[in-house]
């Protein structure tokens, strides 16, 4: 047993000056085993993963416990010895390959940097190693792939190149830190299959970190659930997924199930009618001949992969990026392509909520200023009347009125997104355009935001254009669904119909690619795809 033990972390505690990042965490990984680590952001997943190679962000340090990698106790080693360990024993695969590759160097120079430093191999031998790995990871034109710079290849290819880089020193341990989170679902499938194959053929141990339980359940033999720096629960994958013990794990598993939201009854009266719209930037057409319909009091999900034109279409509806041809109607009136040409009321009735509340909120304005601005601008509310309305809005987004005097920095991601929703509600709109508003949030926070929106649809009579790349979310939340691919609407209909009887091949491939908790889903997918 001990001969097979690659990593063992015992009772590890990591602290910053102000708090505790990891508290009494113990994990172990054996050869040929994948250990999944799941938890929301801030749970300490990445801190734990990096501590297995004794790397800590500045200001953090381990205060007790032990870390043993390949039989060596890392706590006692000096910088030079640790660097040797990192070069020879372990590799790290980061979340965003686009940011993790140095833009200055060709891919092969980065992939072969460690063998090059060791100076045992000639450059031709090193190149051959890289080409073999590029082949194994099914990269296009493996012989010449490494000659490219990071900005010259796609995100999915970069992620695979990073796996090649991780394999080149034949590590005993590979740390996968959210390796597919930045990828589209169909790309994610390919990378997941490769990782699974690599983990079994290279005979190493692996840590697999993700916030997505379905993904982890497909990849890992055992799973550890983390929250606020502590281990909440651990166990073999099937056992944890089928019989979670703790409340938190139960909620995580339940979140993956379907039909957990109240269904929404949308009317058939058309509120927004977008007909044959073309939108472009310069010479590039980002949206081609797109037509969608949003019914009053309903949710239309606009789904598709990154670059498919979802946001561009939404911006043309909001008048931020003018449509070149086609017509956008709201009730009986035709909206001008540019927001400046629209009437005061037309502008008020369509409100836009962005993906990243951090960028959409001015950090130097209090919540009162943020939400109060549309009250005075659109409704001329001041003084006591404004205060009254502010309190109602805070009530509507389920935040205490005392938060009005806070600044965005002291709010969590979910709370900030609630403030953005309140700001939109302040205008008293008919239509909310929600552009990936939950994709930067953790699953359980996402769930609470969606519940809030569901209630607002009933209470305020809102209609929502809900842009998302998350098909499971579209299925649970929306009344109708439109699928976009390469600027075109390839499918548009009742959500249930779109998901149960998809007409286009693209929709079918998207739906198949959504990770599931079901045992053997990924393996079954491989068979189908082949």
């Amino acid at each position: 047993m001990s001969g097979n033990r690659i990593l063992s972390i015992d009772n590890l505690r990591v602290e910053t000056r102000t708090g505790v990042l990891l508290d009494d965490v113990s994990i172990h990984v054996d050869r040929g085993e994948v250990l999944g680590i799941i938890g929301e952001s801030g749970a300490g997943k990445s801190t734990l993963a990096l501590s297995s190679i004794m790397l800590f962000k500045s200001g953090c340090r381990p205060t007790s416990g032990s870390i043993t990698l390949c039989g060596q106790s890392l706590m006692e080693l000096g910088t030079t010895e640790l660097e040797t360990i990192r070069r020879t024993k372990a590799s790290y695969v980061a979340q965003s390959a686009a940011a993790a590759f140095n833009p200055f160097y060709r891919l092969e120079d980065q992939v072969t940097e460690i063998p090059a430093m060791a100076q045992k191999l000639t450059s031709a031998q090193r190149r051959r190693m890289a080409v073999e790995l590029f082949e194994e990871l099914q990269l296009p034109d493996p012989k010449n792939f490494g000659r490219r710079y990071p900005h010259q290849v796609s995100g999915g290819q970069l992620q695979r190149a990073m796996i090649a880089m991780a394999l080149i020193n034949q590590p005993d341990l590979i740390i996968f830190d959210e390796p597919t989170t930045a990828l589209d679902v169909t790309t994610q499938i390919e990378v997941l299959r490769l990782i699974k194959k690599v983990a079994s053929t290279h005979n190493c141990g692996a840590l697999y970190i993700s916030h997505d339980l379905a993904v982890v359940s497909q990849m890992a033999d055992r799973i550890i659930v983390m929250r606020n720096g502590k281990m909440v629960e651990q166990g073999p994958t099937r056992q944890l997924v089928d019989h979670p013990q703790t409340e938190y794990a139960k909620r995580l598993v339940a979140h993956q199930g379907d039909g957990s939201y109240a269904s929404i009854d949308g009317s058939d009266a058309t509120l927004l009618d977008v007909r044959n719209v073309d939108v472009g930037y310069g010479g590039v057409a980002a949206v081609k001949d797109a037509s969608i319909r949003l019914g009053a009091g309903s949710v239309l999900a606009l789904v598709g992969e990154s670059g498919s034109g979802k946001t561009t279409l939404a911006r043309s509806i909001a008048g931020l990026q003018p449509a070149r041809t086609g017509e956008i109607r709201m009730r009986e009136s035709v909206l001008a392509p540019l927001v400046e040409r629209r009437s005061f009321d037309q502008r008020r009735l369509i409100q836009y909520i962005h993906q990243l509340p951090d960028l959409a909120l001015n950090p130097r304005q209090s919540i009162r200023d943020v939400v109060g601005r549309p009250l005075s601008y659109f409704h001329g509310l001041r003084g006591a009347a404004a205060e009254q309305r502010l309190r109602e809005l805070m009530d509507a987004i389920e935040l205490p009125a005392a938060y009005l005097d806070r600044y965005p920095a002291s709010l969590s991601g979910g709370q900030k997104q609630r403030v953005c929703i309140a700001r939109s509600l302040a205008a008293k709109p008919d239509i909310l355009i929600c552009d990936e508003i939950t994709s930067a949030l953790d699953p359980l926070v996402e769930e609470s935001i969606v519940k809030l929106l569901t209630r607002l649809i009933k209470d305020e009579g809102l209609s929502i254009l809900f842009i998302t790349h998350n098909l499971g979310l579209a299925l649970r939340f929306s009344h109708k669904t439109a699928v976009m691919q390469a600027g075109r609407i390839v499918e548009h209909g009742d959500t249930r119909a779109v998901f149960e009887q998809p007409q286009s091949d693209y929709t079918k491939s998207l739906i198949r690619a959504v990770p599931q908790l079901r045992e053997g889903w990924l393996d079954g997918f491989s068979a189908n795809a082949a």
Binding site: L50, I53, L55, T79, T80, L82, E83, T84, I85, R86, R87, T88, A90, S91, Y92, A94, S96, A99, A100, F101, N102, P103, F104, E113, I114, M117, N144, R147, R148, Y149, H151, Q152, M165, I175
Partner: protein, 326 residues
């Protein structure tokens, strides 16, 4: 040059050279306009106290100053395009003959200072970045802040006081003839070069430090750390190349400063450079000389800026190479 084939570099060079030429024309006109708006003219200035209305008028006709402004400008421009920058009004010699030796002097001073200050300041900036928050970082930061906040002439006079007056190591004035021997040149240049080094190092050093530290928080630096790359190699091979753009551009701006913006230092040391030449030319309303200096200064500035942007582009694969293919 396969490196530049099918790349944005070529169109960048063409566009920037064209816009640079337009700028130089425009600047020459502005300088021309500016000199014509000065009170008095060369005739007044040359005759000084002895001026009578008749002699001033006669001299003005002789110098062509009675012509309308656009006529004078285009006359000058036509000649300048043929390489003839006219005759100095105060000295009766071709402007070029007076300008070139002064330009060479300025370049000698500037390049000597640059040869020392650029590697030194970039190196100190790097060291400060490597030792962020440690004693070395604080010390270099404070010292450069001191020289940054002192007027350059004060630094010059302090150096003169210490090294020339008290210690007698170097001459207090730097009036050298081009025929002087090398040791004489070195001895004359030491104090002005040292002054310029102290004045110019702060910006270069601080910017280098900031640029490198900015890059150090990138994901690819963390990646390099996980790969077990030693810290010095990370800074030199992974961080520095990505910080080059801002460093190259501050270096070029510093070069421009050292060539054209050192009038005060030249005055302190009585060094026969371009700056002093131009100030004197303005005082004497020597318009051909002012124009030639103005055009030369702006040409130097524009070319250095262009070089900075071109270098920044060449060191950055994302700008040098198209997205697809290689």
């Amino acid at each position: 040059m396969t490196l530049f084939a099918n790349s944005p570099v070529k169109s960048f060079v063409v566009a920037r050279v064209a816009s640079g030429l337009v700028s130089i024309f425009f600047i020459s006109f502005l300088v021309f306009l500016g000199t014509s708006m000065l009170p008095g003219d060369a005739a007044n200035a040359l005759l000084g106290q002895n001026a009578t209305p008749e002699t001033v008028l006669a001299l003005r006709t002789e110098l062509g100053l009675d012509q309308p402004l656009p006529v004078r400008y285009f006359h000058w421009l036509g000649n300048a395009l043929h390489g003839d920058f006219g005759t100095s009004l105060s000295n009766a010699q071709p402007v070029i003959n007076l300008l070139v030796p002064r330009l060479i002097n300025s370049l000698i001073l500037a390049f000597s200072a640059a040869a020392i200050v650029l590697p030194l300041a970039v190196g100190i900036g790097l060291l400060a970045a490597i030792n962020r928050g440690k004693a070395l970082d604080t010390a270099t930061g404070s010292i450069s802040a001191i020289f940054l906040s002192m007027p350059s002439f004060l630094i010059g006079y302090l150096l003169v006081f210490i090294f020339a007056v008290k210690l007698g190591l170097f001459p207090p004035l730097s009036m050298v003839r081009s025929s002087a021997s090398l040791p004489t040149w070195i001895s004359a240049l030491t104090l002005p070069v040292l002054t310029l080094v102290l004045v110019a190092q702060a910006h270069v050093m601080k910017l280098t430090r900031a640029a490198v530290l900015g890059v150090m928080s990138s994901d690819y630096i963390l990646m390099a750390e996980t790969k077990g790359i030693p810290r010095n190699r990370i800074i030199l091979k992974h961080a520095l190349p990505n910080a080059l753009s801002p460093i190259v551009s501050i270096c070029m701006i510093t070069m421009a400063y050292l060539i054209v913006d050192v009038v005060v230092i030249e005055a302190v040391f009585n060094y026969p450079g371009m700056g002093k030449l131009m100030v004197d030319a303005v005082a004497y309303r020597d318009i051909p000389m002012v124009l030639a200096c103005g055009v030369l200064f702006s040409t130097i500035f524009i070319s250095l800026n262009f070089t900075a942007d071109l270098l920044a582009m060449l060191v950055n694969p994302r700008q040098r190479l198209p997205r697809k293919g290689n």
